[in-house]
Symmetry: D2
Subunit: 358 residues, 4 copies
């Protein structure tokens, strides 16, 4: 398969300073594939880097190419791939798992690659990501997509994977009640996935009007606006004073872990997904102890791609509505400004880079 020698990439130079550059197309080494990037989502963690220059102690020091929620076409196979991963063929549309765990540590061996202390992750300093025309990834990170999948759907399998992992951790029983704090793309996909997993009632809190409206249409039985009301009291009332079986914190606001804990019933579970700017998780000790809560921290995802592909392909969940806006690569800064400002009803703005396999 032919491909050019140089390509356009984007680089974050500092806060709100994204630039386009021409660089050589990378080469696939042993066990790797060259990918022609199709669609890339502008994840909240990208927005943290873009708007604040850091996530906790992960600070952008050198110019970096962000981007990790993506689909791509296979543009070339590195040495050994044809033999070792014969299901991959050039021209194929694939979803790509952005994490590259070490594969040999205790946590990888025990089946928890998401906890690998030596993981490398696309678009997280110092590893470049995929807001670029081409990229190279290990062959085993690529999941061929069945006929009928669109590039956007392929890219959205990544945030969907986070939602699946969060719901896996909750061990829901059919008919149990769920609350989701925050109706951004992750909160919405989590709420929708909780419903797929048998949640009986899905209650969502969110301060932005357009997101509450979207949630009500997309996945929620009821929505609650924290502006002007105590959402914890509202959810306690909606559940007859009992609280919900499982709460998913997907807002990342300083007060949201405490809110999530207060919404949970005695013996309930709180899954914390959000990334708070001040890096503090604060809860009232007497409340969480009296209810004997279990709090689970959601670290990315594990083993979710095959199930995610099946569930989207078979129509168990429709993820496309979350991709509300589309930009070409040369308008990427415009996309990030929109997302940063919660403008125009945005959920996930997708950067459409390539338009066809070759």
């Amino acid at each position: 398969m032919k491909h050019p020698r140089t390509m356009t990439t984007s680089r974050l130079y500092g806060i709100r300073d994204l630039r386009l550059e021409q660089v050589p197309v990378p080469e696939a080494g042993h066990g790797e594939v060259l990918l022609k990037i199709a669609s890339v989502g502008t994840c909240g963690s990208d927005v943290h880097y873009y708007a604040e220059g850091a996530i906790g102690d992960a600070v952008v020091k050198e110019p970096i190419t962000m981007g990790h929620e993506f689909s791509a076409w296979i543009a070339g196979l590195g040495e050994g791939v044809a033999e070792e991963v014969p299901e991959l063929t050039p021209g194929q549309l694939v979803a790509v798992e952005p994490a590259i765990p070490c594969g040999v540590c205790e946590f990888c061996e025990h089946g928890h690659p998401n906890l690998c202390p030596d993981v490398r992750f696309c678009g997280t300093p110092p590893i470049d990501g995929v807001f670029a025309e081409y990229a190279v990834m290990p062959a085993e990170n690529c999941f061929p997509l069945p006929e009928g999948f669109t590039p956007d759907e392929g890219a959205l399998l990544e945030p969907l994977g986070v939602a699946i992992h969060a719901v896996d951790l909750a061990h829901l029983k059919p008919g149990q009640t769920v609350a989701v704090v925050g109706a951004g793309p992750i909160g919405l996909l989590t709420a929708a996935m909780a419903r797929v997993a048998g949640a009986g009632e899905v209650l969502v809190t969110e301060p932005l009007d357009y997101r509450r409206e979207f949630a009500l249409e997309y996945c929620a039985d009821a929505v609650f606006d924290p502006k002007g009301q105590d959402v914890v009291a509202a959810i306690m009332e909606a559940t007859g004073g009992r609280g919900v079986d499982a709460v998913f914190e997907a807002a990342g606001a300083p007060e949201s872990p405490e809110q999530a804990a207060r919404m949970a019933r005695p013996g309930g579970k709180v899954m914390v997904i959000g990334i708070p700017s001040d890096d503090q998780m604060v809860m009232s000790a007497s409340n969480v102890r009296r209810k004997g809560l279990t709090i689970k921290l959601v670290r990315r995802m594990k083993h979710t791609y095959p199930r995610a592909i099946f569930m989207v392909h078979s129509g168990m969940i429709d993820i496309l509505p979350v991709a509300t806006h589309h930009f070409s690569l040369d308008r990427i800064q415009e996309a990030f400004e929109l997302v940063r400002d919660y403008g125009d009803g945005v959920l996930r703005a997708m950067i459409q880079i390539g338009t066809e396999a070759s």
Copy 2:
């Protein structure tokens, strides 16, 4: 609330010998309610007693009134009920949990009333059941049904509870694959409930043509006929040689536990629900060991009524199609003959006893 002094009841005198009798209406004691029976399902365990006179070592020695899947209207409150269970009022349609656990043993205290060694169970020797116009039960066994529930739906909450408990034990993750061996009422409700709980693909095996057709319409992605093919091989092929994540054995045939074990993937789970006539559970040791299976025996249900009511009321599952036939109490023997013979496309034949609250 007025009610007559005598009533019609049915009694099983021996194999295929069901008789109607006039007996006094029982009286509700302290903490009990008098129930005017509405609808009662003819459960497979009733059919075992009717056709074979026993289930394992539980043998019918004295004439017994069978029947335990039922709904009823409250016809009277015993002493103390009005104060202690104020949500119960005469005239109300209720679903009734047929098991009366001791409440004080280790297993009751630990939250497993279904494992209570001293449980008394409606319609299991020597306790009379509810194929009768009236019955008395503890107040706490009664679950008021919301507006819109029909008597049949109320009665079907009992087999639905078994299905919920079986699915609870499987701890499904969304998108996992499921097989169900046997498409009788329990198998069908289990398959439907597995789908509610996020099962990605639901495969059902069943030798009766009309039940396979029903399954395909009601809850299955694919059905397999054990007559003339190896259903294990067929399911292995349908799953690319891997096997399914969870298998529910709901046939009770001598060969079905082994079939269920062979369909499971390595590390998979097998939930055994069926009641085999020869009381033997046989599996190939090398197969189950090599795959490191977990086998869970499903003992009735626990804590399922509130979730069952919610799921039916909110439309998450439609259970009415399983009630295929209806008989009045004086035609009960006809109903049992039909069910015993798998006649006329029967799944659950319902005995409709009362027709209104008073």
Copy 3:
């Protein structure tokens, strides 16, 4: 069995104001027993009330008799007890579960009486406790002690129960590593119980010299002094940079939840037992999320008495060393002052009230 009409009790009137009073001996009602109190531990929660007048939002408003870790002799049986709980006989030494759950709520029914929202608890406002000569409790709260048990051992079964429950929640595998933050009585019993449950290495942090020394003798492989060193760094070094499998926070200091979270390995568990004075549980979000931790809040105990009695009786654990000091009831204020000041090497100061069954 004869007993006097009046008795001495102690009452907390305000901060550090404990008074002795003469009051009528209470009477056992239906299903209750009259207990002649033997030995009572001065629990940390009692000390919170004594020294601060409150635990979180549970405030001492009326004079209250504290005390809930206790053993007693049965001094009289209320109506019905002889028939319903025939294993109880006057003169018997019993350990007493201090919590009286409602028994009918969802959480009680599901086997979690420790999460009952309507629980009444000995010595917690507004319920009087057992720093008194006699008390009345439900018969089912009493656990007869085998020959050879001392009153102190019976009283210490209560804090041991908390330790058992905390270790139950950790689901330790044999050979796993454990850290315990805080070597007060609960931390020490938890460390010792973790060892019983197969912990491979037990590391304890504690600022008081005498408690570290005690820990090293009693249950710890190594102890760490937070004065003058970073205990998190020390424990990471002791575990080759990996962290421990399970951490038990039993200090209740503002910084201890964060310390506990930092000591845990990726995928590890943190059991929070301590009661912080400022009622805040604070952890670094990026640390807990990156490691995908599970945090479990320890709410008292459930179903622990039979196992606790067995383990003490069979010598699996020796709990008596934790009872370091003894006072008669008329010196109770002296006992509380000692405990409040961490004086004279105190761990648990026991109030010895009665000295024989009758």
Copy 4:
């Protein structure tokens, strides 16, 4: 490190036909190490091949070198090992994990290498084992042993690993009761490990007198002889009619799964470890269902070596007593005859092949 060109190996030619042969010393390929074999246990599965020529459908068709429970000295490093696994050095005594999973299938990726359908296993047809002077294994299968470990202890870590895995599956709580059916080496190590994991009472059944005596000395609170008594009734009586929390079936007799199931309490767990000659696992359906049992099949082990090494090294468990007999390689047939006949109080007969590192 120097080593000879040829070596002595043993080969099983047919039932009870073991021969010694001279063959070339194998060569370590990329990522492999050459091992000078130290001590090898005569496992029950070896004895199945020796005495019956097969285990289920795994049949010995070609002459094979058996042996998989072993320790060895590293005699040479293949290409790449020095760089990739720097902790391995020539001369080192190592324990060796005998299973070589594929590393890329779903089950390996999810942390269950013991369930890998493509696993290769030392000494299982058609792979040669280690009753030989030298062998080659992947570097990552080797676990360096700390100072003070003996070759026998290193070899016994393999059956200990099975015991650890079985106990891991039981999720024991401290103080729970345990029964073990069968006091062969696996049953004994399982009973001892259950005790390490906090089992409160360990009851063992075994028909051979010398093994019952050994069990009582080594790990059991009480032993039961199935000759001349109903061991199920005896264990029910010993537990006050309740049954035990967890049963480990380690006998492989046709009746032992049913016995194990009958000893379990309602809601109990049965771990099946034994390999029955007739390849049938039979249990009474009504018994297992009424008690709602969970049955877990124990497939070898996973991730146990580091914990096993720690527990032996720190003295938490003493495994050497299980190695009752020692033979040199040229007397291997004598060893197998002894074990086959349960002669001379044998538990594990060890084949001592090398005597020093070089």
